[in-house]
Amino acid sequence: MPRQLHLSAALDSPDSPGRFNAGHYTALAGLAERATLDFVTLDDSFDPEPGRPDALAALARIAPLTGRVGLVPTVTTTHTEPFHTSISVNTLDWVSKGRAGWLVGVSTTEAEARAFGRRPVAPADELWAEAADAVEVAARLWDSWEDDAEIRDTATGRFIDRDKLHYIDFEGRHFSVRGPSITPRPPQGRPVVAVPVAAADLAPDASPGGRARVAAAIRHADVVLLDAPDRDARLTAATELRLRAGEHLRILARLDTARSALPDRAAEERLLAELTATGTGVDGFHLVPADPVRDLTALADRIAPALRAAGLLRTGYTGRTLRDHLGLARPAGRYTAPPAAAAAAPALALAEVTR
């Protein structure tokens, strides 16, 4: 039986008049769930264009109206507080019952820097190094409550076992954070961290910013959204990423459907051929539609059924959390002492994660 694809889609709708309203995103997420996608993304920045709401807010808004699809907003790390980012993504995981992810972004523009007035624009390599620190802080804060910290022990009058809450004491170049989090450990333990990477970032002549972005992905990403110009570049980049990050990394190649014009049957056939090709080196695809309503409808109505017929897509969700969909285990907290009996971890079943 062929290995199933991990599929996701972007809901960004820069041209839609409904893009400030909840109903627009609810309808799109409904299509994504019909297509049994692993997750949807919503991009964000502090630039005034394109017009859009706060991405994490919009995905929180649709969380109670969806049941299974993962919700992955872009949250930037340049002008924001790592503590706030950590508890916001954590809370998205709580309100979605374990379906949150975080697509890490940085703010590179003058306009964004002026809107905050706190610091000038910095070079991309510095921003991605800072982003890696922000993810480190967020992850430590997610782990700062052990899963069983809440005890409600009426005999001693204690609500929590404070020995299971931990200071994180992060000290970095741009910030230090003491912790612990104000929010208990989220349902997934740690929400899924995604980092966008371009194939050029992995090339020998990559820019310093590209290298820093790859370093952040290797250190922290559960998922890489890989942007490559062609199949060869995709295979080379994916092989390199897997070699450096390990087999747990899920690599989804960006597929822009703008060129495909999905209502067109021939375009749909081309997209299907792309999705079903073997030897791509990636675990699946991140579809970026030019027209989300049109293209996600085609995906749900025609492409997904064709993929299911080929055994390449789940017929229905079998798991509840985004980690379930991605085949990623719920991580143990870094501050939790491992149970003595389980000290020898079972060997990673490589066959499960290698295509």
Partner: protein
């Protein structure tokens, strides 16, 4: 007084907080973090036609004697994210988030509240709080950078700047002020309410002035009719200096309540609730907050300590202080002597917030009396149980308020400004 038409009461529901008002030891106490608890309380409040649902905030876990305080509920989600999710499962009720003006930047705040207002179709409110302590600052980029005196000037400039961003059209905002020098515009159109509702909590003189200048709602604590009337008169009088009428600022004290079929049954239940809120260890912990020293060997069922407090102690962190420790100790001793109270009984006596206790008819009458006599414009009700603590109030007291003709039987408009009777602000004014 009799000639005046009846004032309409405003009601809000406060999600039970991370303090000892919240009783977690009750078998009916549910999760404080799972979304279903928030959904239950918000939907109950909306069934009761409440004006808004309110979430508090604390950006560092409270500490006592250098360790995390473990006797009360600990842990809560990020407020704005929860409210965006609640917008999906409610239709009319306002959604208020407490967000600190010290450890957030105006551009991001303006954008997040504009997003909530759009995604909830006009139901967002921002409860502006401030802090300057280095203790909380240890979780943030700037640390404890702000002088105590600058807290309100930064908060006022933050609100003003957020309103400039909400009002700005294509040309955007250029702002130079003591705290902020920024330029830009949001990625969203003007919010449906024009400006999300601004709530201010705090009772100091500068807090009152800030409220009169800036806020749409004041969240305060006053336990007697006379104190409420004095506060009400004082704050409403300050409005004129800012060109504002008395109707443009609603005064809503926080209040707890305990109901019973009869007044006697309610009083009995209230005593039980207070004893659950102030257990022996909690009583000692309150005592230590004032005395500033370790009193773990002190008998909670005995008299107050004979030694005087250490006024310079930093034993308790991240919580509201009681005031000058020596004066507080003196006052507590006087009350204990007069009423012959043990330490625990004294703490039960002095740490109680305003409570409406009685049968549904009695409580409806008390609330109406406070409002008609200008001690308040309404109340922010703080249930002591999550998530069912508001059920009985909505089922039994709200219908009586409606019968009295002092509380809406249905929402008359879609936005929180509609519920509060506040006009949509005209861009560029105020």
């Amino acid at each position: 007084m009799t000639d005046r038409p009846l004032k309409q009461i405003h009601l809000a529901a406060h999600f039970p907080g991370v303090n000892n008002t919240t009783v977690w030891s009750d078998p009916a106490s549910g999760s404080h973090i799972e979304f279903d608890s928030f959904r239950h309380l918000a939907q109950t409040a909306e069934r009761g036609k409440f004006d808004f649902f309110f979430l508090a905030e604390g950006l560092r876990l409270r500490e006592h004697k250098g360790r995390i305080h473990d006797l009360d509920v600990v842990g809560r989600p990020e407020s704005i994210t929860v409210l965006n999710a609640l917008a999906a499962v409610t239709e009319r009720i306002g959604l208020a988030a407490t967000v600190n003006a010290t450890f957030n930047e105006p551009y991001e705040l303006a954008r997040r509240f504009a997003s909530l207002d759009h995604l909830s179709a006009g139901r967002a409110a921002w409860n502006v709080v401030t802090s300057s302590d280095a203790f909380t600052g240890e979780n943030f980029r700037r640390g404890g950078y702000l002088d105590r005196a600058d807290r309100y000037t930064r908060a006022a400039e933050s609100v003003q700047l957020a309103r400039e961003f909400w009002d700005a059209g294509e040309e955007g905002v250029r702002h130079r002020g003591p705290h902020f020098e920024v330029e830009g515009r949001l990625s969203l159109p003007r919010p449906p309410q024009g400006h999300p509702v601004v709530i201010q909590a705090g009772d100091s003189d500068e807090g009152r002035e800030f409220a009169a200048a800036t806020a749409d709602v004041v969240f305060t604590v006053h336990s007697t009719l006379a104190a409420g009337q004095a506060f009400h008169a004082d704050v409403k009088r300050r409005l004129a200096a800012y060109g504002r009428g008395p109707e443009e600022l609603k005064i809503m004290p926080g209040a707890t309540f305990v109901l019973g079929d009869t007044d006697a049954e309610a009083a009995e239940r209230a005593t039980e609730v207070r004893r659950a809120q102030v257990g022996p260890r909690t009583a000692i912990s309150f005592l230590e907050q004032v005395w500033g020293v370790d009193l773990s060997d002190h008998d909670p069922d005995g008299p107050l300590p004979e030694t005087d407090p250490d006024p310079d102690s930093a034993l308790a962190q991240g919580r509201v202080r009681f005031g000058d420790p020596l004066a507080v100790a003196e006052r507590w001793r006087a009350i204990a002597a007069e009423k012959r109270l043990t330490t625990r009984e004294l703490v039960i006596e002095v740490t109680g917030r305003q409570s409406f206790i009685g049968s549904p008819a009695t409580v409806a009458g008390q609330i109406d009396h406070f409002v008609q006599n200008d001690a308040a414009d309404g109340f922010i009700l703080v249930p002591h149980l999550t998530p069912g603590g508001l059920d009985e109030f909505v089922d039994k007291v709200v219908p009586l308020l409606q019968e009295r003709g002092v509380f809406r039987t249905d929402y008359t408009g879609p936005t929180l400004r509609d519920h509060l009777g506040l006009p949509v602000p005209v861009p560029g004014r105020g």
